[in-house]
């Protein structure tokens, strides 16, 4: 099966490949997939004032999985947390011209985005609670 040029480009020049420290302030981490299924995506966002200022990924998976997560990091940057939650796997399929057998890669990328956002929100809530508790009424 031949890959689309966009997939090949992301594979050869992955955007925002790397990691943030999970415990860093404003960082949300999503890890989805499983090694025995042949793909695992780690997607991280860094949020400041409700805006995603940076994003990073690492992916174990086929070229389409790598491209889907690489593309997701590009799209996440500059979006608000709410806007980021609106990204749909179908948009990734369209942008990368993924064939039907590779749609699950885009689904995984959407799941990774959601997982990262949830992790961020959970952390923010906990931090908020801690702050609230620390501040005398």
């Amino acid at each position: 099966m031949a890959y689309s040029e966009k997939v090949i480009d992301h594979y050869n020049n992955p955007r925002n490949m790397g990691s943030f420290k999970k415990e860093e302030d404003g960082v949300g981490t999503g890890i989805v997939g499983a090694p025995e299924c042949g793909d695992v995506m780690k997607l991280q966002i860094k949020v400041e004032n409700d805006t995603i200022v940076d994003a990073k990924f690492k992916t174990f998976g086929c070229g389409s999985a790598i491209a889907s997560s690489s593309l997701a990091t590009e799209w996440l940057k500059g979006k608000t947390v709410d806007q980021a939650g609106q990204i749909k796997n179908t948009e990734i399929v369209q942008e990368l011209n993924l064939p039907p057998v590779k749609i699950h890669c885009s689904v995984l990328a959407e799941d990774a985005i959601k997982a990262a956002l949830n992790d961020y929100k959970k952390k923010a809530d906990t931090e908020g609670e801690t702050e609230a508790a620390a501040t005398p009424a």
Partner: protein, 423 residues
């Protein structure tokens, strides 16, 4: 050195130019139907077929009359399994095979199961070999056929066929061997191996696609098969209104087991390919094995957590199957796309299941997804091997840098204890 490099010789091989030269006259001036008995065109074609049949029989120590031409190994496997089941149904309804056979055998067996035949799929050890004692213990008084491959198409592991042949003979059960990957690459002697039926094909040994053979033993025991394709042997002579066709329902060429006009150019090419293998096997197997060993050492010596799949020594000379931990096979193929290889990853399959052969060896799904099969062949050069080593190392490193699993492993996380969301 020319790119792309072909290193997928288990899938198919290019025709040897000497094979093509031998075939060419049979398309034009020697175009006759080998079953036409009453003119020189037919005789000439028949002579070409007879020669080929002799070369093929000689290589496997069989008699020329024991070679039945088919369209390829898939048809040979189907004919062996279905033909035996149909012919010997009064005797029993049980077949023994292994879980790592080629799809042609497994799917034929599954199709027979739907018709009420009982099939035992024996397990293999972690090197891919079946235990002959397991074969012995699986035999019942209803067993009519044992079907076990000579060498596996993914991992190259060679089964102890001669031992199994002895057991089959002792128990009076017919023994079929799919020798598609072995014939022409390692010595094969149907007498020593004790096989009664054997499938193989031309295109794996530098011959043309579309022609294969089934060896069918004629003596001790005389194996009989119900044909899958009817047509009274060969049509050529009789349909042309010639004199002595074989009587309906029997005889004919291919002993009535496979009808259809023989593709004479392909048969001739098959014969030539086999003749070349017979002449060159001693040197060629040493050469391909040396290249394979260099490839194996070059790759495995340069990287950590790289695992060999299959048997370390009882393996086809040109086969190398390796799992690269933390990287996915298909992504790896993409990284070395100027080299033709295959992967046990099933990222493109509907089921997302990785190689059933590697799974049967007990290789974890993660490492099965990370496997690459290299197939060294007659035309592989040392330069190509060096280039492949270099490119594989770079691609694996590139992907490991990108792999969250590699990162976690480096941080000391035991990946086996992680709760993954299996999807």
């Amino acid at each position: 050195m020319k790119l792309p490099i072909y290193m997928d010789n288990h899938s198919t091989t290019p025709c040897d130019p000497r094979v093509v030269d031998a075939m060419l006259p049979y398309f034009t001036e020697k175009f006759g139907n080998s079953a036409s008995r009453n003119h020189s065109f037919g005789w000439e074609a028949e002579e070409g077929v007879d020669q080929a049949r002799k070369h093929i029989a000689n290589l496997i120590h069989a008699d020329a009359k024991e070679i039945v031409f088919t369209s390829g190994a898939t048809e040979s496997d189907n004919l062996a399994l279905k033909g035996v089941v149909e012919m010997y149904k009064e005797k029993g309804d049980h077949i023994i095979t292994t879980s790592t056979e080629h799809r042609a055998v497994i799917d034929a067996a599954k199709s027979l199961e739907k018709k009420g035949v009982k099939v035992t799929y024996l397990p293999v050890d972690k090197t891919g070999r079946v235990d002959p004692d397991d074969v012995r213990n699986a035999i019942t008084d209803k067993t009519i056929l044992i079907s076990i491959m000579l060498a596996n198409n993914e991992i190259g592991t060679i089964h102890p066929i001669a031992e199994i042949g002895k057991i089959a003979k002792e128990k009076g059960v017919l023994f079929h061997c799919d020798a598609t990957q072995g014939v022409g690459k390692i010595p094969v002697d149907v007498q020593e191996l004790g096989v009664d039926l054997m499938s193989f094909t031309a295109h794996k040994i530098y011959g043309p696609k579309g022609i294969g053979a089934l060896y069918v033993r004629r003596k001790a025991p005389r194996v009989r098969l119900a044909p899958m394709i009817d047509g009274g042997g060969h049509e050529g002579g009789r349909r042309g209104g010639a004199r002595s066709g074989p009587p309906p329902g029997g005889g004919g060429h291919e002993r009535g087991m496979r009808s259809g006009t023989l593709p004479v150019p392909l048969v001739v090419g098959f014969g030539k390919a086999i003749e070349l293998c017979a002449q060159e096997m001693p040197e060629e197997s040493v050469r391909t094995m040396a290249l394979r060993d260099r490839l194996q050492d070059g790759i495995m010596g340069a990287m950590e957590e790289v695992y060999l799949n299959g048997h370390p020594t009882e393996r086809l000379p040109g086969n190398l199957n390796i799992s690269f931990a933390y990287v996915e096979g298909e992504a790896l193929l993409m990284g070395v796309k100027e080299i033709a290889l295959s992967s046990g990853s099933a990222c493109t399959s509907a089921t997302l299941e990785p190689s059933y052969v590697l799974r049967a060896l007990g290789v974890g799904s993660d490492l099965a997804h990370s496997s690459i099969r290299f197939g060294i062949g007659r035309f592989t050069t040392p330069e190509e091997v060096e280039y492949t080593i270099d490119r594989m190392i770079k691609a694996v490193n590139h992907l490991r840098e990108m792999s969250p699993l590699y990162e976690m492993a480096k941080e000391g996380v035991d990946l086996k204890t992680v709760q993954w969301a299996v999807h």
